[in-house]
Amino acid sequence: MWSAVIEFITFREPNIRFVVLGSIFMGISAALVGSFAYLRKQALVGDTVSHSVLPGICIAFLCIGTKNTPILLLGAFIAGWLSLLAVDWLIHQTKIKPDSANAVALSTFFGLGVFLLTIIQHTGNAAQTGLDKFIFGNAAALLKNDVWLFLGLALCTIVLVSIFFKHFALLSFDRQFAVSIGYPVKALEVLLTSLTVIAIVCGIQAMGVVLVASLLIAPAVAARFWCYNLKKMLVVACSIGALGGYVGAFISYLAPAMPSGPWIVVALFFIALASFIGAPQKGIWARFRLGQNNKRRVQEENILKYIYSAQEDGLIKEYTITPQCLAELRNNKTLEAIEPYKRLCRKNLAIQKGSAYQLTSKGIEYAKRMVKVHRLWELYLAHYLHLPPDHVHEDAESIEHIITPEIEKQLIQLLDNPSTDPHGKDIPY
């Protein structure tokens, strides 16, 4: 086991080198074109192209009669290219949506391909054996030449994408706007489509169909969860594509009968899943935490505010109160829970005194601000929306937690440094 790991990391076997480097380079180019495809709502182009190449292969075979790889690949490329151009045209010239356009192109081209296969079947040409799978490769069987080819492809893709970055970005996010500011949209689309088809056809002939479809989609989807900025997203997508290739190759080296391509797909899937769950800000765990934190902050701020107003009303002394007491005062059972008080202590906003809690000077400042903001907002509602004083409390209760110091300043200015709220209570400064 350990020896296998070390052999893998040190590239001891030449085949490890081919597979790892090949899948990393392919992962990078696929992630780049895949990100744009994903943003243009055509994440499934990989699948479309890999089915659409069949008639191209068949026609090329019918023309030359042997399985000559470069010519079959040329046929495959032309067919894949035509299908994607057709998809682009359908999306922009008709009301057909991207997913339907892809599916129509896929099924028609594939239908034609299967039909041609049966025609070839009746020609009696013995060279046809395995024609339908002939150009589909296997990621474990990458050759030295593939590594160079993929390196070239990755460099070309990176260079072209950096040259046309602004154009491609606009094309993906707002095609209408790109047209209106006079970009050569059609030419750009053909360029992007051609780049995509080249990457896909190179990919499927070396690594197989399903892997390429996944290399296009998964990194882009996962990267979208890590950042908002397109440039960063492309970088992250490339890294994820490369990482997936590396991990998949590694697993397939650990034991026999572990297919490399499918393991890369599985690795990419789990990276994507991990991103959906764990990515900062956009992942569901982060979103869940954000919601939780907000809830807690509201709870804490409420307690501070309640203690402040209790002191203000003379019900307690020195800002000290037990949770039970506060709950009774506010007639709110939920205030009995001591966790929020403990959190206040941890933030140095309060200190524990036996079973009671006392606000520190920092806590009093914080509480004062909350009460101030609350009352300012009440006043604002009463003043500008002409709401009666008994209708403004509820609204202020929720808005007080999100008012920023800037809004606070504006409110004070707008209300001309008021001293009392609609209920006649002092606004603390």
Partner: protein, 323 residues
């Protein structure tokens, strides 16, 4: 006003729709007419109409009936059961056939299920299933699944040929003696083929006497003719080999100093190329010995277009490569 315009627009769309329907139907009628004239070409002959699924099964049948019956093969030269797609033509052949021969042992996949059901109406025979079960090689653990590539062992294929002749004799009694005669002749040819393969393979020195291929279709061949077989993956065409399989095979080739590797015609060449490159990087030159025939025969009219010729070609490729 707007409403009116929309309505006329709708009418136009409707008209367009009618127009294209009309075009389509006219088109279909055209195709249909052309077809009906072609239909008459089909002639009815009084001789037995036999359909065989694979070229190899068809070759066995042809050697028994010679010119006394019409033999049609669904999977022609170069068509293996994975590539095969049934066409309209094949449906006609199947429904008009008096007797259908197929390999069986799940070689034909889904088609075998249909043939199985059709047995109620027609004489349909799975010839490879006539081979005694104890001579078959099991795949999987606990169920009745066997490797279908039985024709790789000539002595087993003889059972299939005999079954084929038996069925034909029982159906076409008028030609029974003729079939018997042909069978005897053909069995003799098969016997000498069997002996030929055995002696030829035995000539390869035993250390590097290993047949390395991409796909494992040679287990019967290996057992009968005492040649070790190593392949990247099993019979399944969906299964894929991994990086470790390649490096293991490379190590094996280097250790045993094997001179050549082979590939099957229906597998992309690249998979075995990776092995060759791996060996090269370890300073062991191994060459691509050539392409072996497995599930499909070669082109009609060439020696590889028959079962005997195909096996002989395989043996020549193997011995040339390894010697």
């Amino acid at each position: 006003m707007l409403n009116l315009r929309l309505e006329t627009f709708g009418m136009k769309i409707l008209a367009a729709f009618r127009l294209c329907l009309l075009c389509l139907f006219i088109g279909y009628l055209g195709i249909g007419c052309k077809q009906s004239s072609k239909e008459k070409v089909f002639t009815h002959s009084s001789s037995l109409r036999i359909v065989a699924t694979t070229g190899i099964v068809g070759d066995a049948v042809k050697n028994i009936v010679l010119n006394k019956a019409e033999v049609n093969v669904l999977m022609g030269p170069g068509v293996d059961p994975h590539l095969y797609k049934a066409s309209q033509k094949d449906l006609e052949l199947l429904s008009k056939a008096d007797v259908i021969f197929y390999n069986g042992l799940h070689l034909e996949g889904k088609m075998a299920e249909v043939l199985e059901k059709l047995k109620k109406q027609k004489k349909i025979v799975a010839i490879a299933e006539a081979i005694p079960v104890n001579k078959l090689i099991k795949v999987g653990e606990n169920e009745n699944l066997y490797d279908p590539h039985v024709w790789m062992d000539v002595s087993l294929w003889k059972y299939a040929v005999i079954e084929c002749a038996r069925v034909l004799q029982s159906i076409d009694t008028s030609n029974a003696a003729f079939y018997k005669q042909n069978l005897d002749n053909y069995l003799q040819a098969l016997d000498s083929l069997d002996a030929y393969i055995e002696t030829e393979i035995a000539k390869i020195p035993s250390i590097p006497r290993v047949l390395i291929t991409a796909h494992d279709a040679f287990s019967y061949f290996s057992r009968r003719y005492h040649i070790e077989v190593k392949s990247l993956q099993g019979i399944s065409t969906v299964a894929e080999f991994g990086l470790r399989d390649i490096t293991n095979l490379v190590d094996f080739i280097v250790a045993r100093k094997i001179k050549a590797v082979f590939m099957e015609s229906f597998i992309p060449e690249r998979s075995i190329r990776a092995v060759i490159e791996g060996c090269k990087a370890k300073n062991h030159e191994v060459k691509l010995g050539g392409v072996l025939f497995t599930d499909a025969l070669g082109a009609e009219g060439t020696p590889e277009g028959t079962y005997i010729g195909m096996l002989k070609a395989n043996v020549k490729t193997i011995t040339d490569g390894l010697r």
